[in-house]
Symmetry: C2
Subunit: 429 residues, 2 copies
């Protein structure tokens, strides 16, 4: 092959994470973890590859047939790269249902794969945070899951002015649809169209519904009920949910919205979706209550509520609202320069002492490099302090410490050095 044509670019729809991008990704994941853990959630994970049959049974037809990356392994197994986490969650719970018991509070952060057109806030490989509370079928449980999302927004600096969680209830929606004259057989074909309403022009939306055999009068009734924001009190579940979220301190983040339905078939009660207040981006996260998690595996019925939050739309929102922090990419607190070859031993011992004291320390790895180039590296890497130890300092068991920002230099004994660094510590990854 002509290797000179080897591309340095990742495959279309896939992303590289250089250290500066990785630092932001870790910052985001750390806040997801912290929010979930503050409510007692435990991290779990499953394989990145699952049988296609699992997704055929548990995922939407569109996802499996149009968006999965599928392959046949060398043992002739039909498998797919994990496009979503819920099927693996269901499989794992079914496997050990008896032993696990309830309530279960679980979360996962990991890669998902979907073959879609890459665009702003969407790639073919992305990361997703899934939180689920399995067992109790109560407004308290529903409120808790939504509260974790609020807590996460709060922790990453997104206020209720930046983001809103719109909440609805499938049962309320269905009773409203019935009152408007729709038949229950129509619900499952209607819901995807209600879900897609804000992505289409009014005209196109009407045409689509007409082609589903729905009359103009019924479409107009539907529009009316999807705009009536004054009926949440008719649902006891919603009323209790909002009152619980208020007691928890998250009232500002949440709002009833009759047009939120979520596209998926399996939701049975509370459904919700977080959106940017400007309405510029797709949903930041979404979820709801489901009742039929594990029945397909022959396990005991089990209800749950959960959400999934991708890493990409939230990043766009953080960019738009200028809330991405300026992070240190390097964990290093101090660079030890090497004066010359014969000073290497002294430098190594100083590094050893500092690491022993818990200070992340780099030694410049080439004693033949000139000192100013070594210091330039410290500056470029964002290392706050540098040590210079020439023959004079060594003779007296001292070092000169240079503050890379102020350019000030100070001569210290080895003992004083640790004190000095700990006083000047900045938080690093």
């Amino acid at each position: 092959m002509n290797t000179s044509q080897l591309s340095t670019q990742p495959t279309k729809g896939f992303r590289d994470f250089y250290p500066d991008e990785m630092a932001i990704r870790q910052w985001l994941f750390d806040h997801m973890k912290a929010a979930a853990r503050s409510f007692g959630y435990q991290m779990y994970d499953g394989p990145l590859v699952e049988p296609v049959s699992l997704y055929e049974a548990k995922s939407s037809k569109e996802l499996v047939e149009q968006q999965t990356f599928q392959l046949t392994d060398r043992g002739n197994r039909q498998v797919a790269l994990r496009p979503e986490m819920t099927p693996s969650l269901a499989r794992m719970i079914a496997q050990k249902q008896q032993q696990l018991g309830t309530p279960l509070r679980w979360f996962n952060i990991g890669p998902r794969f979907r073959y879609e057109a890459p665009q702003r806030g969407r790639a073919r490989e992305f990361y997703q945070w899934d939180c689920d509370l399995i067992g109790p079928k109560t407004p308290e449980a529903d409120a808790e899951i939504i509260a974790i999302a609020c807590e996460f927004f709060n922790r990453i600096g997104l206020s209720a002015d930046d983001v809103v969680i719109k909440v609805n209830n499938r049962k309320l929606l269905e009773s409203k649809l019935s009152s408007a004259g729709f038949k229950s057989e129509q619900f499952s074909s209607l819901i995807p169209w209600i879900d897609r309403r804000d992505k289409l022009s009014r005209e196109k939306w009407h045409t689509a519904l007409k082609s589903e055999g729905i009359s103009k009068k019924h479409i107009e009734e539907l529009e009316l009920l999807l705009s009536d924001t004054d009926v949440s009190y008719e649902s006891e579940e919603l009323t209790q949910l909002f009152s619980t979220l208020t007691d928890m301190g998250y009232a500002d983040y949440v709002k009833y919205d009759p047009s939120i339905v979520r596209g998926l078939d399996y939701y049975t009660g509370t459904v919700f979706e977080a959106q940017d207040r400007q309405g510029k981006l797709r949903a930041v996260l979404g979820g709801g209550r489901y009742d039929n998690l594990v029945e397909l595996f022959g396990a005991k019925p089990s209800s749950g509520i959960g959400f999934a939050c991708g890493d990409m739309v939230i990043m766009e929102l953080l960019k738009d609202t200028k809330k991405i922090p300026d992070l240190n990419t390097s964990p290093t607190q101090i660079l030890i320069t090497i004066f010359n070859e014969s000073a290497t031993r002294y430098a190594l011992k100083t590094a050893r002492m500092l690491r022993y004291a818990g200070i992340a320390t780099e030694l410049y790895p080439d004693p033949t490099t000139k000192l100013d180039k070594q210091l330039k590296y410290a500056h470029k890497t964002g290392i706050p302090l540098a040590i210079i130890a020439g023959p004079d300092e060594q003779a007296q068991n001292q070092v000169a410490v240079k503050n890379m920002k102020t350019k000030q230099q100070k001569t210290l004994s080895q003992k004083e050095l640790i004190e000095y660094i700990k006083k000047h510590l900045t938080p690093r990854p």
Copy 2:
């Protein structure tokens, strides 16, 4: 399809991580990160899917042709699930070589996929820690990479009695091979057989080498030089490497071993492999110096040294040496039980106060569940404290705190509660 046949098991060679298993995985990863960061290494990541052509150019033929999971995506791209990290590292560095500069200290922890026979310490999806120092071609750089591995072992409780890092140098090996009468054209076919020597009987190994056209006399010469542990001083690189590692405090962990060669073609200097001292397991980690990282992309030559450490053999070694810690799976410090429906509000407000104080708090999510069942859940989940607040306690703005281990109970004001919990805090994930 007959959905009752839906399996609850993961695909062959893939693993589920229930919360208790995930806690151990995270413990291991945290120590990998901490060891790398104490030397100033920065985390990076690449896609889990790369073009097959990248691996054809950068990986061994055996790996690509026999062990990759390959697929054709919906845009007709031939891609493979990442079997190793170095090709992605090379691609990423070639992409921004100018901008990145050197030295680069990078590490990654993430999934790798290889279709091999699953066995003890080996699965088809595993996690691997890659550490690389790109740029300087010095004994200090070589020593630093090996030191990170030692530091990691030290941090997870594996002493030099449990694990040894065997070190060799390809240049020394090649000069010994030349002295023994081998031609340089023979080296690349010889090295894989030297690498496999301890996996074969002496007889089979002889037969294999004979079939490569090597005479009995030469095979015996080879055996002699692979056993001569007294020649490392002949290599200035090795001498300096060991002296640097001694200055760094890691002498106990490292040892010269002329039979360590590492199978891969691309190593050019120092090579090393960590093994359990008992010699029961396959290599715990391995690596070496390479000179031709990015040339295939048309980039400037760049030397580096690195190692890769999988998550599975090290876990086997930790099991064998009884060094796996007893970890808390749940992050929760306290469970707030709900006395009855009307007590929910008081419970919610107590939870809010505790979370605000940074205490991971669970509320039992169903007020209709009996108290003893709620406490049983706390016990099973390993939550150290539980709160019980009946009408009497509520009336006086108090709570009863139960220590789940000692079964002792104490009535406290809300204010005293936070002090009490912080005093009883145990480290949680």
